[in-house]
């Protein structure tokens, strides 16, 4: 079972929910946790894993053998991202623009190009107690997060009965979020009951349910602020509200210190277990 925890925007408590869900389930199930928010992975601050393995993530970058290249310009012509420029007897490659598609290599008439990996981030793996933990970290200054997430997702312990994989998605609704949601069995969307929260929840539903066809459920965080917009929207759309976490300074303070919700308030353990059981029962039959 793969559950991706997402939210249209950041700061809604997505990581709080994802980490607490993992901690609540670890007693009864084999839990794997993947932090896919590679631009800003934060779950490790709550789960405190020991990292045992590190692996570099590379994307393929074309490299030219200038002894063979006759500057015909074909590679530049076929590159959809303008990552190659050929001017006279000069060939330039702009690594940040390259998506690593390999088309230039396939098209070079002189066979003057090959690929070498260019590091864009790392994957760290380890254990947080019984939880198998992995996170991706994008190098600062690198624009593309998706390759790191794709690599991270190769660690998914898919389809093994009794294993639940929890993926903490990045904020937003663009490519990295889609990559984190693709292939999940359930999308747990975290929001807050404000106009910003509602606006972003709609977008998250558009991606998870409408585009990717995933079953979705909502967790309302900071319940009690704002207005009833989110609630009304969920009712109208038939989206179940699976949990409410009240706005409470007593919750905000320990969370800000890296204490997971279920540790600060053990009663939430049961709420998260119920939530999981609901997903298994109702959604997956």
């Amino acid at each position: 079972m793969i559950i991706t925890v997402a939210s249209g925007k950041g700061g809604t408590g997505k990581t709080t929910v994802a980490t607490s869900l993992a901690l609540a389930l670890q007693e009864h199930l084999a839990v794997q946790f993947l932090d896919c928010d590679v631009e800003d992975p934060n779950a490790h601050l709550y789960l405190r894993p020991t990292i045992q393995r590190r692996e570099e993530v590379g994307v393929s970058l074309p490299v030219v053998d200038f002894a063979l290249c006759d500057y015909c310009g074909r590679c530049a012509e076929v590159c959809a991202y303008h990552a190659i420029a050929v001017v006279g007897q000069k060939l330039l490659i702009f690594p940040e623009l390259c998506h690593g598609c390999g088309s230039c290599i396939l098209n070079c008439p002189q066979k003057a190009m090959h690929e070498e990996p260019r590091p864009v981030g790392i994957i760290e793996e380890g254990q947080a107690g019984p939880i198998a933990f992995a996170q991706g970290i994008l190098n600062v200054g690198e624009p593309m997060a998706t390759p790191v997430i794709r690599q991270l997702k190769k660690r998914l312990q898919e389809c093994q009965p009794g294993v639940v994989s929890i993926l903490d998605a990045p904020p937003g609704t663009a490519c990295p979020v889609v990559e984190s949601l693709r292939g999940a069995d359930f999308a747990l969307l975290v929001t807050e009951p404000t106009p910003f929260g509602l606006h972003d929840l709609r977008l998250a539903v558009e991606v998870a349910r409408d585009t990717l066809g995933l079953p979705v459920g909502v967790v309302i965080n900071r319940d009690g602020v704002g207005n009833t917009g989110v609630e009304d929207y969920c009712t109208a759309e038939g989206i179940p509200v699976l949990m409410r976490i009240p706005l409470d300074r007593r919750i905000a303070a320990p969370c800000s210190d890296g204490v997971p919700l279920v540790e600060a308030f053990p009663s939430y353990r049961e709420h998260f277990q119920d939530l999981y059981n609901w997903i298994v029962r109702v959604q997956l039959g």
Binding site: G11, N42, V78, H99, P143, R182, P195, G258
Partner: protein, 305 residues
């Protein structure tokens, strides 16, 4: 014309709330143009009540399309596609447009010329009038590529408008993170106002976004939002700023009035003149000192950058 960008390593730190308040405060003393660079989740419009004047499609890139009539089902396209976008169907192949990155590798390799590259409309961008100045904003269709490109487009339009109208300041509300859209939002900024929170992840996020502004040599100021939720951590963040030589522009208290203002659809500084607004005024003063006054000084000293 000066350009400032409001950023935060992660979302939900109050970036938009602060950007909207700065827009309100700045517009009382100078002419401004606004750009909402968070095209994934554009929230600025919820508090600025924009009146759309112009809107246009955004073509982010291309997608490959296979013509089933000409396809001979050889599978070459699926072999060369590195994004897993070509899927096998019963009697041929089809491109799934979500993972397709439009690289055209399949287009060039298909022996039957069965593939065409088509423009992909990935969103819309808007020019709107608000009571503070022009706002440029956009919507990326959910799950589409190229948010960085759309951010660049929105910013370019905003810059052009600001130059044309001889505006004093362009305020950019940035997206969260440190990836491609953030880089696009930060490019060309004279100052970045970095918003953080006094949480265990707050300091961590701040360090990452600061590494980015340093990497691109953009002068930065820090603002701690909800500082009183965890005074000890707020102090740590302040200390971190001193160590890194980044000025702390201010500490906003946690106040429900911020959410109330959001629910009413106005910038918090317009809604109340309580403690939050008083601190925002001080932050605005600092921003002004750093971008406008300082650069005027360097100019009067005859310094040409």
């Amino acid at each position: 014309m000066k350009q400032i960008v409001v950023l935060s390593g992660k979302g939900g730190t109050g970036k938009t709330t602060i950007a909207a308040a700065l827009a309100h405060l700045a517009s009382r003393e100078m002419s401004i143009v606004l750009a909402d660079a968070d095209v994934d989740a554009a929230n600025l419009e919820l508090v600025l009540a924009p009146e759309v004047q112009e809107s246009q499609d955004f073509v982010g890139g291309q997608v490959a399309v296979i013509n089933p009539q000409t396809c001979i089902a050889c599978g070459v396209c699926a072999e060369v596609c590195r994004f897993g976008a070509v899927v096998r169907e019963e009697n041929g192949y089809r491109v799934d447009r979500i993972p397709c990155e439009g690289c055209a590798a399949c287009f060039y390799q298909c022996p039957a010329n069965a593939i065409s590259m088509e423009n992909s409309v990935d969103g819309r961008w808007f020019q709107s009038r608000t009571r503070f100045g022009l706002l440029f904003h956009a919507h990326l269709i959910a799950a589409r590529e190229n948010s960085g490109k759309l951010v660049s487009l929105v910013k370019q339009r905003a810059r052009l408008a600001a130059l044309e109208d001889h505006s004093d300041l362009l305020i950019v509300d940035g997206p969260p993170g440190i990836g491609c859209p953030v880089i696009a939002a930060a490019t060309g900024a004279d100052l970045a106002l970095l918003i953080t929170e006094p949480t265990i992840s707050g300091a961590h996020d701040l360090a990452r976004i600061l590494a980015l502004t340093e990497h691109f040599r953009i002068q930065a100021l820090v603002c701690i939002n909800k500082a009183d939720i965890n005074p000890r951590r707020a102090k740590e963040v302040a200390h971190f700023c001193t160590e890194r030589g980044v000025p702390l522009a201010g500490c906003l208290p946690y106040d429900m009035v911020v959410t109330e203002a959001m629910v009413h659809g106005v910038p918090v500084s317009e809604y109340t003149d309580g403690p939050v607004t008083q601190e925002l005024i001080r932050i605005w003063q600092q921003v002004k000192d750093h971008v406008l006054v300082r650069s005027a000084e360097t100019l009067s000293n005859g310094y040409i950058p």
